[in-house]
């Protein structure tokens, strides 16, 4: 991997801030094939386990007066459900399981990635790109299925003066196709940057004089990253809801 090339910067200190993102086979060494069990596999599996632990085992008692884990599960459910209902309206509620899947995957992956030594699957553009393309394709297909060619009305701003409409339509089309790009890079970029910065601060801890400051900085960044993890999952989910609303009600 090329990351070692960065190591010689910062006057003798060895930084490998990007090493944590390397995808490598979990058992042995060698090429990473499509079905090779890698650290991606491990941390995605842990994500699934964590989600099942929270949403399935946490609610297994079906208590009227909820336990702590059941409260959290219900809070997640209520939060996403309300978001879907508020943004997309009543007819968007049937897509709630898909949005809940995306939200839970991103949220839990982000939080698991904050465990020291963990691998953050959502910091990879391959992962967030697939998620964003999934949303983009689903919303576009759904828009045409639900509204036929009327879905193109999304790009034709009927409230604007007639002369401006073709220009606005062009801008709308461009912004529509930029959506999956921004959607995926926002999430991956946020996760990657935070983890890389923490790693850089951790590298500074090797100098005894700076290490207390470095530890304070890591702590502060860690707090910020917890916030970012939650917010990015929320942003991804709510933007998905907004796109879904466009597909269901394309008129401005």
């Amino acid at each position: 991997m090329a990351t070692e090339a960065q190591g010689a910067e910062e006057g003798g200190l060895v930084f490998h801030p990007m090493d944590q993102f390397i995808v490598k086979p979990l058992f042995g060494y060698g090429e990473v094939g499509a079905f090779t069990i890698t650290n991606v596999t491990l941390w995605m599996a842990l994500t699934v386990v964590a989600i099942i632990a929270l949403l399935v085992f946490g609610t297994s008692r079906r208590a009227i007066v909820p336990t702590r884990s059941q409260s959290i599960a219900e809070m997640m459910y209520g939060f996403v459900y309300k978001m879907v209902e508020d943004v997309t309206g009543k007819d968007g509620v049937k897509y709630f399981p898909y949005i809940m899947t995306l939200f839970m995957f991103i949220l839990v992956s982000n939080f698991l990635g904050l465990i020291p030594g963990a691998f953050t699957t959502t910091s990879h553009i391959a992962v967030t790109g697939v998620l964003a393309m999934f949303v983009f394709l689903a919303v576009t297909i759904l828009g045409f299925v639900k509204n036929g060619l009327g879905f193109l009305g999304l790009f034709w701003v009927s409230s604007a003066p007639l002369a401006l409409r073709p220009i606005l339509a062009l801008i709308e089309v461009i912004s529509y196709f930029v959506r999956p790009v921004s959607h995926s890079i926002r999430l991956a970029g946020n996760m990657m940057a935070g983890h890389a910065v923490i790693k850089v601060f951790a590298g500074f801890a090797a100098i005894a004089a700076i290490s207390p400051l470095s530890i304070v900085a890591i702590t502060a960044m860690y707090g910020l990253e917890i916030l970012v993890s939650g917010i990015q999952a929320y942003v991804f989910a709510i933007l998905t809801c907004v796109y879904l609303k466009d597909a269901l009600h394309p008129s401005h």
């Binding site: 090339a5 993102f21 995808v23 890698t38 609610t59 909820p66 399981p97 899947t101 699957t121 553009i125």
Partner: protein, 176 residues
């Protein structure tokens, strides 16, 4: 994806593991498997269960509130019934007091009347006795007067006047 290639150029040839395209198929495969598993777990087990628990709780809360309203209404009814019973009891007590007073009054009146009648009877008896005594006294006085008059008459004019005419004269005198 234009942005990725752009990023690769600035990061000095594959500095970012994110842009190592050889790992993309691996990540995408595992991501799709993960998403499908999560989706099925959520849509088949977790979400219906949480939804039913929330609905059940909402139902329970609604029922409990309704039950509480019911009990409150019952308490209000019971209080009203108690107040009514109290008023009824007061009225009943008043009625019994009045009735008893009337009965006592009637008994008293009867006893007084009886006593009056007895007193009247006794008074009449007494008067009768007094009258009898008076009669016998005036009779005795008449007899004494006749005897005295006979004696006086005999002493004044012996043998000339009979006893019958003296008695008649005394009786006439006494009546006068």
């Amino acid at each position: 994806m234009a942005t990725e290639t752009h990023g690769a150029e600035t990061e000095s040839a594959g500095g970012m593991p994110q842009l190592d395209f050889s790992t993309f198929d691996n990540q995408i495969v595992w991501l799709l498997i993960t998403l499908v598993v999560i989706y099925f777990v959520l849509s088949r087990v977790a979400l219906p269960r949480i939804g039913s628990v929330l609905a059940e709780r909402a139902g329970t809360i609604t029922n409990d509130i309704a039950a509480a309203e019911d009990l409150k209404q019952q308490a209000i009814d019971a209080e009203a019934a108690y107040e009514k019973a109290l008023i009824d009891a007061r009225a009943e007590a008043g009625r019994i007091v009045g009735e008893t007073k009337a009965t006592i009054q009637a008994d008293l009146d009867k006893a007084i009347a009886k006593a009056d009648a007895e007193i009247a009877a006794r008074a009449a008896e007494g008067e009768k006795a007094i009258a009898a005594i008076r009669d016998s006294a005036s009779e005795n006085a008449a007899i004494v007067a006749k005897d005295i008059a006979k004696d006086i008459v005999a002493a004044v004019s012996p043998g000339k006047i009979d006893a019958k005419s003296v008695t008649a004269a005394v009786t006439a005198k006494m009546k006068g």
